[in-house]
Symmetry: none
DNA sequence: GTGGTCTAGACCACG
DNA sequence: GTGGTCTAGACCACA
């Protein structure tokens, strides 16, 4: 389910966090559904449970997951996600757009790219 | 000119790199112009020269600057920037757009945001 | 294992890089195997760990090694080596051949030399 | 006549040395002919005469040029070139061939490359 | 004066 | 225990 690259230099817990977040965003794990348990995921990815634990903690801080002690961790609703996360994304978006423009990417190319991922019901 | 946050967890040399890249992108340092010398910048930011030098090395790998030993470092042309950097930006762009859509940002809002930074001659 | 000449004028980190690369090329360190740790090698060569680390960074840029923080550095596969490195070698090869011819080395001698290192299964 | 790249990071005096050596090797400056004077070359390349001076000194050590005080510097015969230079080239050649083989270049490709530069009268 | 290299020693994140 | 980062201070090549 989650692809790890142990050679990438990126901390493993970040890769797990990114993978889980991606699953939640894409609907692979619908809001309210239970995330795999720390031990299960650690087993299937063949890494240390502490590393999974850290990923879950960070995800919870961002608001993408919440934990019910004794029950497990669950995917949160989009509206539960930390407002800071959203602001951070918008900040990064502006920075990336600015840099791409500097590199010669035209407004038309940017708009094409932004439409490519458009969802029907927007 | 460059704002550092020594407690942010992000390495100082990366903050310096980001700050300089921003200056180059925004035209604050036009292509061909000299960047501040390692010692000068280290002094004005009150950090070690080695840390500045690492920032310059990374910036050079990205293609945003080039160094002439004994002369200084200079801002490069947009066309000199590493192709990998451009691809990395496009990858990040797609990921951010996907996450923002999940968080409820509509296509109209995204397009508005993308037009905000539009440059007249695109 | 690696011979250093501290008075040669060539930077120590380059000598370390060359020595390690040679070990990888000759199979002294098979692909996937761990290179000596920064501290270990620094100790056995009696030089500063930072100098070793710089050698490893450069080796990684060339594609001859990859690093997993907290785990160590490892020898990469030949296919992971940077394409630029290969082109640089071919460029240097042509220049050296040209100069050797100027110095009176005949085509026969060059071909003999090129066959000397031939591998059986080529 | 000599192409300098002030941005390359390679010391200018080395670029000048390489350029002059190339001219001698290729016959652009036949053996016995006078090399351009330090001041002339410094002027046409728009660099400091001290830098040219250093290039000439190194070239003389290699045996590619000799200086007659008050007369100028002259291109030497191939037989005058330092034996160490020749050995260094052969050593480098072996190292490059070994590395290229490691990178998957076959014996056939190497031989093709070595024949490409073949001179008719060898 | 500039960047490049090196040392000695320190703290931290990661797994 | 590993690599990553940072500091303080030093010397050298280059132009």
């Amino acid at each position: 389910m989650i692809q790890l690259n142990l050679r990438s230099g990126q901390p493993i817990y970040e890769q797990v966090r990114d993978g889980l977040r991606k699953l939640i965003i894409t609907g692979g794990i619908p809001a309210g559904d239970r995330l795999p348990s720390v031990r299960t995921l650690a087993g299937s990815l063949a890494i240390n449970p502490n590393t999974i634990q850290k990923a879950y903690e960070v995800l919870e801080q961002e608001g993408y997951a919440y934990t019910i002690p004794g029950k497990g961790s669950f995917a949160a609703l989009p509206t539960d996600v930390n407002a800071e996360r959203r602001e951070e994304l918008l900040r990064k978006l502006d920075g990336i757009l600015q840099e791409l423009r500097f590199l010669g990417v035209t407004q038309a190319e940017l708009e094409a790219r932004i439409r490519k991922g458009e969802r029907p019901n927007d």
